[in-house]
Symmetry: C2
Subunit: 346 residues, 2 copies
DNA sequence: TTATTTTGTGTGTTCGAGCACATTTTTTGT
DNA sequence: ACAAAAAATGTGCTCGAACACACAAAATAA
């Protein structure tokens, strides 16, 4: 039978007191060889699993976890993360965990560093960081390491041996997925890879996607396509893009590496004469609207909500239930079109 | 501050004993209006959340949950479910829950009923059923209702007011998703909708998918396509299918409504002269192999593992944490091609 | 041999909710 | 007015792990 054994059971079986069993289990010394052997004998026979409930009941320690991400009011890309964090808060509200969210300005490394200082003042047990700035992240992680504060990262992967865990997506592969879909929609023609981002802070982010996208076409040796990269920045997006479309009459497809596909779709909707396929990222409302209108063909779902949720929950479960924190959690690259979109928006 | 209040705290604040507070919280009567008001006043001010850990520690009741599904040795479609159930067992092994799996022969209604009898003998607190047989399911659910045993269903949706909760996918919509992908691969020609199933027990299942698939083409008024339905049964699959391909030179695409796409792909791989697109269901190993070879274009992921996991975990969380059981959980219809498949196979 | 560490072992309390039971207060009946 | 019943309230124990502390049994020193 799958009876649950308690420390008391073990003590009785070994003919010692529960205190001695406890000392053996946590090897905090002061146990005679005789007692040790007797207890180990019992432990070898039965399958002891400590009751996590009782363990957590006793400990009065309140674990504090801080999440650091860009202010969703500045970049709405991060809005789903807030929901994911909220979900984790709700799930663990019954336990002695406090989860705090801190925002920084994604345009400012200074804001990033300042917010980190504030977090350190809270002396949390762990932090979950969206590491937008490479160099600054490595610096700050070193600080956390020295203070013995556990660090988890999400959204974009930062190289560095001090970074021990990450939740996110394989961006290179997501570029390849986009390419495979584009190759299905089109048979030939010019394809533009467009990076739209006011702050080019997540350049690596977008480059990885482009690499994957280009690599797919290179590897397959598919002829008939020509790929062009286009970088658009805030005030001139429309004028520059319209000029580009004008200059390239053979443009048949567009791959947008950020969540701003709706900007391009909106501009294109005014040019009824051209039929251009669009593939973008993220199920933000405006993107889904254009998906429903048929102007955007596919969206790749980055599932930020789940990223944030998993980032927090792995930390919480580490403290509460002593679970290991996985080195990398790669979320699937969800392919979204107008038919299945409704199941992903939450 | 976000201090966690205990019953004792409330008692002190309201000037009563913890017993009285307990009676108010669980409204088990015998409380004077005066005390009730005092306690409610306190409860309105503070935000009391009972400590689930302490609650579960006390209760010695062991909840028993039985899962009923077809024997995966007979139909390997169900293998991922076993993993999903195993995942739930691991997650909840620290709690006083026992999760038992029972198999039935999917070809035999008698086996289905017999296994249910066995489950009833175990007098579980809840069951999760894969309700393959419509009529028999309704009967058995009535029995469970009378015995006050909670019932949850997964995989295929059964109509009936006694069925209170379901975890699965919208099959009609998944047919539409398949159609939209087919419409992307092909521009015209004949498309076959193939049902392969030794036992035609899940006919409704497959019909829903076909309906969705056909509806997509009907609704869009796309000309140039002709749809044909083909039913193939075990010993004659190859001969009948080959004859069909022979007779229909314009056949360009095949939609297989079961997880047996690999059977068709395998037969087609011998006919090198014909280029026919295949869309099927489920990430079984053989299907993924043909996906990698480029013979299968898309697979729709039904995510049986997660279906089973969620089916069990909602029940467990209902008992342990008093969470509500959602009426229907519709999992997203994941679109899989060769580029993103690796992220979904577990 | 007796005093004094050192080492080993057992006992008892804590955590918070839940519930049985004891005790007090109020109400009802005569 | 007083007993008896009913209602209201408080007390105390339980669950299992963790750990402090008390105590006992050897080991060493004087």
């Amino acid at each position: 039978m799958d009876k649950k054994y308690t420390i008391k059971d073990i003590a009785k079986m070994a003919g010692v007191s529960k205190g001695t069993v406890d000392r053996v289990l946590h090897n905090r010394g002061k146990v005679s060889p005789t007692a040790l052997e007797k207890i180990n004998e019992v432990l070898n026979v039965i399958d002891y699993e400590p009751n996590l409930i009782a363990r957590n009941l006793k400990s009065t320690k309140v674990y504090r976890i801080c999440v650091l991400l860009p202010d969703p009011e500045i970049d709405s890309y991060w809005l789903p993360c807030v929901n994911g964090i909220q979900e984790a808060i709700t799930e663990f509200k019954a336990y002695s965990v406090v989860i705090e969210t801190h925002y920084f300005n994604p345009e400012s490394t200074k804001s990033f560093l300042n917010t980190n200082e504030n977090i350190i003042k809270q002396s949390p047990d762990a932090v979950l960081i969206a590491p937008l700035f490479h160099k600054e992240t490595l610096e700050i992680v070193k600080q956390y390491d020295e203070l013995n504060i556990m660090v988890n990262t999400f959204n974009n992967q930062i190289e560095g041996e001090s970074i021990k865990s990450f939740v996110g997506q394989d961006l290179y592969k997501s570029g390849r997925v986009a390419a495979s879909l584009m190759n299905l929609i089109l048979t030939d023609g010019q394809i533009a890879i467009i990076h739209i981002d006011e702050s080019l802070k997540n350049a690596v982010h977008m480059q990885e996607k482009e690499k994957g996208f280009r690599n797919y076409f290179d590897e397959k040796k598919i002829s008939g396509f020509s790929l062009t990269t286009l970088k658009l920045k805030h005030p001139n997006v429309e004028t520059k893009f319209l000029a580009f479309v004008e200059e390239n009459p053979n443009l048949k497809g567009i791959f947008i590496t950020t969540s701003k596909a709706y900007q391009i779709a909106s501009i294109l909707s005014s040019i009824k004469t051209r039929k251009i396929a669009i593939i973008g990222y993220d199920l933000v409302e405006k993107n889904v609207n254009f998906l429903n209108q048929g102007l955007v063909h596919f969206l790749i779902h980055q599932n930020q909500k789940r990223q944030a949720y998993l980032g927090v929950s792995t930390l919480v479960e580490h403290f509460l239930f002593r679970k290991d924190i996985p080195e990398t959690i790669l979320l699937p690259i969800d392919i979204i079109n107008v038919e299945n979109a409704s199941f992903y928006v939450s």
